[in-house]
Subunit: 163 residues, 2 copies
């Protein structure tokens, strides 16, 4: 196994483990639980799941895997807070979007070549990338793993767990 293969497998394993944690939590929560605030005055699971779905949808384009599946999510769940007056998709829809996006992303992540992970993502210029080679696709995967863990720590509160 080359160094590159090893790093890519480490980063993908961490990413997949994080997604699996969210999916496990979704099997444990009722829709009512998901729609509750994670803490008084804090985002509901509904909003956070939409937020994570929108972030993952953006990864499809950042990685050059294709267009977003549900581009309307970004305005609702990324650009605006939960208390905006935008109409949100139902929890059933958000769960559906999450699974569709995450499934599609997982397929591309799995099939992507080792060398492609070290190429620049679509939001960095050739010029900047030449100076900052860490701004590659694999680094985005690492930072999205951390981001998802951050919100997972909040969503776990919906399951009545103190972890």
């Amino acid at each position: 196994m080359t160094d590159r293969e090893l790093f890519v497998s480490m980063a993908i394993t961490a990413w997949e483990a994080q997604n699996a944690r969210i999916n496990k939590l979704l099997t444990e929560l009722s829709d009512d639980q998901l729609c509750a605030p994670t803490a008084p005055g804090r985002n509901a699971g509904h909003y956070l799941l939409g937020h994570l779905a929108a972030v993952n949808d953006g990864m499809l384009t950042l990685f050059g895997f294709g267009d977003k599946l549900y581009p309307e999510l970004a305005k609702i769940f990324l650009a605006n807070p939960e208390n905006s007056d935008l109409t949100k998709p139902s929890i059933t829809e958000v769960k559906y979007y999450w699974h569709e996006i995450t499934h599609r992303l997982a397929k591309f992540v799995h099939e992507n070549s080792v060398d492609d992970w070290f190429t620049k993502h679509t939001a960095v210029s050739d010029e900047d990338f030449a100076k900052e080679p860490h701004r590659n696709k694999l680094n985005v995967l690492l930072s999205r793993t951390t981001h998802q863990a951050y919100h997972h720590g909040q969503m776990i509160y919906l399951a009545g767990k103190n972890e």
Copy 2:
């Protein structure tokens, strides 16, 4: 820059950013805020900070950097839940321990050689490591980064923020 150097710098940057986020939060929270539950019935910031300090202390030994600075923290903040009847150090002490441990760990992380990150950590056998080369020190750093982000997502609720 070699692949190894690049990947190590990516992982260390992510780790340091995560520690910086916790440190920033600590500058924003009063001791009273830190001692409050992150949500009703959930761990207080006090306990979570002790938990993160104890985890980081364990990394010193996992990485072979030396002995734990405060080995007594593990029993209180890792092996037992917040509502155990163990006497906990004060919030002032926990903050002190956190800073001492994290500062020491950061020094070693910074000085560690690139190749050493790809050697096995002390909790895996030579035999297992030969079969599972991803069980190296850098992988521990990645997983601890995710773990810290998870609890950071909870601790941010103490700052009256909905992020």
